[in-house]
């Protein structure tokens, strides 16, 4: 049996714990960070800074590895092109993030904290993903 689901479960659990400790499952705190011109709350910058720092080290290790510890090979994005689709999509995502103070990770983690709001957000998010898939006729 592949060890991938076990790695994914452990990773997801640590990820969810980190989101909760860092306050990212509290939309009020996330919107506080996005309220740059008001009562700005810099907490999210510390969360992002800590995560990026650890991952920068992980990338340095990854470059010296022939293959991952528990898988045959790396499956990593390799695109470099900046497209209108990338920028437009990120722009729309940012608007949604600003309205709700939630992005996908905290949306799932919030199922443990406030299941009804989390389900509303996640159902709408999956509907949005479905719309893109249908429009692109994949």
């Amino acid at each position: 049996m592949s060890r991938e689901p076990i790695i994914a479960l452990v990773s997801g659990t640590i990820f969810g714990a980190g989101l909760a400790i860092g306050g990212m499952t509290d939309p009020a705190r996330v919107r506080g960070f996005l309220d740059l011109f008001g009562a700005w709350d810099p907490t999210l910058a510390f969360v992002m800074g800590g995560a990026v720092l650890v991952m920068a080290l992980a990338w340095a290790v990854q470059r010296r590895m022939a293959h991952p510890l528990f898988a045959a090979g790396f499956s990593l994005p390799d695109r470099r092109d900046i497209t209108p689709r990338l920028v437009g999509g990120a722009a729309l995502f940012g608007v949604g993030w600003g309205i709700a103070g939630l992005c996908p990770g905290p949306g799932f983690a919030a199922l443990a904290i406030a299941p009804i709001p989390a389900l509303i957000f996640l159902a709408a998010m999956l509907a949005g993903m479905l719309i893109v898939r249908l429009l692109e006729g994949e």
Binding site: E4, P5, A8, L9, S11, I14, F15, G16, A17, G18, L19, A20, G22, G23, P27, A28, R29, L34, D35, F37, G38, D41, T43, M48, G50, L53, A58, W59, M65, L69, S75, R79, R80, D81, R85, V87, G89, A90, A91, F93, G94, G96, W97, I99, A100, L102, P104, G105, F108, A109, A112, I120, M125, L126, A127, G128, M129, L130, V132, E138
Partner: protein
């Protein structure tokens, strides 16, 4: 720990949480050879995107997210939270779903995994969604639109 000038900020909790998120993403990268991008993993789990990631593994990751948050709650950590009203919440979810598919990622994939790799696509995506996030809250505040209880 109090940050001077920002009485509501929780810099130490933020840093600890961030390091945990980084470790989780590092485990996916070095263990399974994959990006811990939540929007992509969610799309894969629900059959809304093509990916080499097995669906079972995608679901396992997603189940872990509330599991980890519940563990933190059980230990008495992680404070209160306030969620926006159902209508703006649904509108926001829709925009997040469409935006993350078109933009190939969210705060985890582009923010945590991509920025740390100095991916140009991720740097552009993060700069863009931060800018529209800041603008959205600023405009809503200027118009007096209250969405939090």
């Amino acid at each position: 720990m109090i940050l001077p000038g920002f009485p509501d900020a929780a810099p130490l909790e933020g840093l600890i949480g961030g390091v945990l998120i980084g470790l989780a993403a590092a485990l996916m990268l070095l263990g399974a050879g994959r990006i811990a991008g939540v929007s992509g993993i969610a799309a894969r789990a629900f059959g809304l995107a093509q990916s080499s990631l097995p669906r079972g593994a995608a679901f396992a990751f997603l189940i872990g997210l509330p599991l980890g948050a519940a563990l933190v709650g059980a230990l008495g950590e992680g404070g209160a939270s306030a969620f926006v009203a159902p209508l703006p919440l649904a509108l926001a979810g829709l925009l997040v779903g469409i935006g993350t598919r078109l933009g190939s990622g969210c705060t985890s994939g582009h923010g945590v995994c991509g920025m740390s790799r100095l991916s140009q696509r991720s740097l552009v995506a993060v700069a863009t969604f931060m800018a529209t996030g800041f603008a959205t809250v600023a405009v809503m505040n200027a118009l007096g639109i209250e969405v939090l209880p």
